[in-house]
């Protein structure tokens, strides 16, 4: 099973899928997103990197309107993000999101976590949703734990379930907000492996992460943010070996020391 089969992302690879045009957001006086212009093409994997507080999460969350913006526009597949209500819910169904803290539904089994969206939002038959969920859980290596509850799984396992839950909706694009930052070191690789597979299969991905290995293996582009603005944009190789801005040099110097 490949992503292109289920997601229909195959058509027109390379066409703009997510377009941010002059996006601005303030929290009170704090200008958290400053004139963000960003085009993410179908099938592209974009890594967002930058110091804490630079607006990476806000950017990510603006793309599925978990955060509203005050100026500029965001379009998905050519359509502006709806304001509220059912249309917004429908948009979110097409945008997968993976959180730093997993956020699996604590009162549902692993299988139910993955079938809930397809059944409630896509009106899929229960049996069909379960079959698909089992396939996806196998794919992320959790198939044998389908009847457990989230709290019974390790962080790395929970995050892989969260990825399966998002994939079950057949998203056009997947957003990852520091998916491995809450994990113990030995569990980071198992989650990154799943993400690398996904990238290889052509999923469009926006990934906030400081994992340089992932960026080098899977990303088409690295975006460096500081103080709410995109400071630098480049291929991973160029960005990590030859950063242009002082902010990027300074930041890379700090994370490379460890």
């Amino acid at each position: 099973m490949t992503v292109t089969e289920q997601g229909g992302t195959e058509a027109a690879t390379g066409q703009p899928l997510v377009v941010l045009d002059g996006v601005n957001k303030w929290y009170g006086d704090l200008h958290v997103l400053q004139d963000i212009n960003l085009t993410i093409k179908r099938g592209e994997v974009v890594v967002v990197i930058g110091p804490s507080g630079s607006g990476k999460s806000t950017l990510c969350r603006a793309i599925n309107r978990l955060e509203t913006i005050q100026k500029g526009s965001i379009t998905l597949d050519g359509k502006p993000l709806p304001e509220e209500g059912k249309a917004l819910a429908a948009l979110r169904a097409d945008v997968g999101m993976v959180f730093q803290s997993f956020n699996l539904f604590a009162h549902k089994t692993i299988l139910q976590n993955v079938t809930l969206g397809p059944i409630k939002v896509r009106n899929m038959k229960k049996a069909e949703a379960q079959d698909r969920a089992k396939e996806l859980l196998d794919r992320v290596g959790i198939g044998h734990q389908a009847d457990k509850y989230p709290a019974q799984l390790s962080g790395g396992q929970q995050q892989r379930v969260a990825i399966a839950r998002a994939l079950a909706m057949n998203p056009k694009v997947m957003l990852f907000d520091e998916p491995t930052s809450a994990l113990d070191p030995e569990m980071i690789a198992e989650v990154l492996d799943v993400m690398v597979d996904l990238a290889k299969q052509g999923m469009t991905m926006v990934v906030v992460t400081h994992e340089m290995g992932f960026a080098r293996t899977a990303a088409d582009r690295v975006i460096f943010m500081a103080d709410g603005a995109i400071v630098e944009e480049n291929t991973p190789e160029e960005f990590f070996t030859n950063p242009q801005s002082d902010r990027a040099k300074d930041f890379l110097g700090k994370i490379l020391k460890h």
């Binding site: 978990l66 819910a89 979110r92 097409d94 999101m97 959180f99 956020n103 539904f105 009162h107 409630k120």
Partner: protein
């Protein structure tokens, strides 16, 4: 003692009315209160304001005044119903404000990540509330809810002042007819109230302990 036994049918009749008031108002308050509690966390500001205004006004008004409004003021705008119906409405409206607050704080006890994850897979607000948030909020809603229903059981006695012959009114009326046996009637009435409230109170504290362990 004899007077109590002889008039047990009247006491039981009042008790039955009290049970009716309690059960009907519990269900109605539960429904209305859940809707109000959901409104208080809704993404639509006017709904939030409406919910908040309801709670502030109703919760800070004496129940007697709510009854007074239903029984004496409402008929002036041609809303004429039976006294018992007025009692149902007054008790439901009043109790709903407390249910609302229990529901709201229960919803707030569920981490925001749960609601975000629900929204992120495309659930509408009402889907996320009913399938993700409320089921998880239940454990913190139920213990205060039982206490609210215990209070409601006792509050039904206010209906006695508004022409509904429930348990308290039966006792009061018997006392007027047989003043020398007043203490017996009082004890009988109290016994029947406790028959509802003590088991409910025990259930509440047991549930509370269970929730504490599960945390």
């Amino acid at each position: 003692m004899d007077a109590l036994v002889d008039n047990l049918d009247l006491i039981l009749k009042g008790f039955w009315t009290t049970i009716q008031l309690t059960v009907v108002a519990s269900i109605a308050a539960l429904l209305l209160g859940t809707v109000l509690g959901t409104m208080r966390v809704s993404p639509i500001p006017p709904l939030r304001w409406l919910g908040a205004a309801y709670v502030e006004i109703v919760r800070n008004t004496p129940l007697t005044l709510v009854f007074f409004f239903m029984v004496f003021v409402a008929p002036q705008v041609d809303i004429v119903v039976e006294f018992k119906t007025s009692a149902y409405v007054a008790l439901s409206v009043y109790t709903a404000a407390f249910v609302c607050e229990a529901v709201r704080s229960g919803i707030n006890s569920v981490s925001t990540g749960q609601a975000e994850a629900a929204r992120a897979i495309g659930m509408t607000f009402s889907q996320s509330i009913s399938t993700v948030i409320l089921p998880q909020a239940m454990r913190s809603i139920i213990p205060p809810l039982i206490n609210i229903f215990v209070a409601l059981t006792k509050n039904t006695s206010v209906a006695a002042g508004f022409f509904v012959t429930e348990l308290f009114a039966s006792g009061r009326d018997l006392n007027l007819r047989h003043p020398s046996d007043g203490l017996w009637f009082l004890g009988g009435v109290a016994f029947f109230y406790l028959l509802i409230t003590i088991p409910a109170g025990i259930a509440a504290s047991q549930l509370e302990r269970k929730v504490a362990i599960a945390r």
